[in-house]
């Protein structure tokens, strides 16, 4: 049986109290082929599946989840790392929000310039046809879990550029958006409120989990 087969087996995913606690079934053979020819991604996948199934079957997963969920959630909620990425007018207000007068950093925000270090993408302007593939790449480069904030009218629906030949009608046409902040341009206070809304959303959805699977 392949690694995919284990994940697809409903009996193995039943969790605590299920009959399939047989360790031989859980610790399935590595993917086809001999050990020397095993690729690293296949090995990782095999280890991943094995650990998941073992923790699921023994009930360990639920216990660990219960313990770590509030901690992970707290950490994610209070330290969103937005990408330092400016498109148009709202980017100036994003910068002004970090200035001494508004000091948005007290919400735990740290702007990073690399998408690999970020978990919030702020789309703060109109997305043009030339920019769309690049923005999509930036979004895909960010590690999970990640959220998107559509800041300003342009990112919500195209805004003042609704009849342009090159502006996309809103960021949500090609990527999932979590929080919409209206305004043209968005004031720093509104951006702050947007981040508080995002924190609320994170707390309610509780995505912070140990060994998360879809």
């Amino acid at each position: 049986m392949s690694a995919k087969g284990i994940r697809g087996n409903p009996e193995l995913r039943r969790g605590v109290g299920s009959k399939t606690t047989d360790s031989e079934k859980i610790m399935e053979d590595p993917p086809a082929g001999d050990w020397l020819a095993l690729r690293s991604d296949q090995l990782l996948k095999w280890i991943d599946d094995a650990v998941y199934n073992a923790s699921e079957a023994t009930g360990m997963r639920e216990v660990v989840d219960r313990v770590t969920r509030p901690i992970f959630n707290f950490a994610q909620r209070f330290s969103p790392h937005p990408l330092h990425f400016g498109i148009m007018c709202c980017a100036i207000e994003m910068g002004q929000a970090s200035a001494p007068d508004h000091d948005i950093d007290r919400l735990g925000l740290v702007y990073r310039s690399s998408p690999r270090q970020c978990d919030v993408l702020i789309v703060n302007g109109p997305v043009c046809e030339k920019l769309r593939p690049k923005l999509k790449t930036l979004y895909e480069q960010m590690p999970e879990p990640k959220w998107v904030i559509a800041m300003g009218e342009c990112a919500i629906s195209g805004g003042p550029y609704w009849d342009s030949y090159s502006v996309v009608a809103g960021a949500d046409t090609f990527m999932p958006v979590d929080v919409y902040i209206p305004g043209c341009p968005v004031r720093p206070e509104a951006l702050m409120h947007g981040f508080l809304t995002l924190q609320k959303k994170i707390r309610e959805k509780e995505p912070g989990m140990f060994l998360r699977r879809e």
Binding site: C89, I92, E93, Q96, A99, C128, P160, S164, Y165, P185
Partner: protein, 364 residues
Amino acid sequence: MAEMWISMGPQHPMTHGLWTLKVKVDGETIVDADPELGYLHRSVEKMGERRKYFMNTTLTDRLCYASSTTWTHSYVLAVEELMEVEVPTRAQYIRTIMLELQRLASHLMWAGAYMPDLGHITGALYFWRDRELFLNLLELPSGSRLLYNFMRIGGVKRDLPDGFEEKTERILKLFEQRLDEYADLFENSKIFRMRTEDVGKFTGSQAMNMGITGPNLRGCGVKHDLRVEDTYEIYEEIDWDVCTREAGPGYSDCFSRYMIRIDEMKESVKIIRDCFKKMPKGPTMSARVPIRASGEAFRRTEDSRGEALMYLVGDGSDRPYRWKIKSPMFTTISACPHYLKGYKLADIPAIMGSIDICIGETDK
């Protein structure tokens, strides 16, 4: 050593906006560069052809997010030239005050964005803090923080509110003290000068040929300012000087381009004070403004970044037939291979930051 291309942008801390700079490096030395624009092309010119003349001020406000009112003013001047509208004197004074406040805010924003490029985070916080003062001032008459829509065809939206002069005077006084503080912080800082001096040099004649105007040209010692040479509003009657700086005989470097902006801020303070002194009473809006126009007209204005030119062609209807925007940064960015060549890779933020890029107007 092997040469290779490095791509910086559109998401890069150096770019200050959406553009890509591809540089060809030989080791650490820049051999060639290829800037690429268009990530923010919103087709303002085409959209303007579908809107009426007075509606377009919302688009011109959003042309340059750092100095929106100067661009609206440039458009409004061109339309007034096309429609032959006379503007009341008080409206001209109010416009001048707003323009200079906007220039101060724009230069402060440039400085606030330039300092972190050089690793000077304190500088960024200081300049952003001072910019907030001027945003509050601009908010008083217009009711908006960033995009004012204050200039109207034939005048301004409304008169200045009560107590505006006292508030402005108080803030200008505070700002002047802080400018002296900045002299200690930056001009006398050895690290700042090492990063900026003798970097990104070009001469005045080169700059004119490459299409570089505004503070970047005045930083080469060329005494050229459209506020004097193609005068508009009431700059003729105001007591002020065109300031120039140069790093050496006829050329500029990053430090002279920094200093020219500091000097311009001091001049702007002078202009605002003099405007308040000489401002007459009267209406702020022209009595009759037509909505249709025909013929063609253009006006040049001195934007915070250089020469802004709006060219309008009307066909007798209430919408422009063709509207063309000249952005000073468009040509300045195009010339970047000339002034980047020969410097090190680590100098790119210092050089590209010093020319004050605003992509909103560049990509139109």
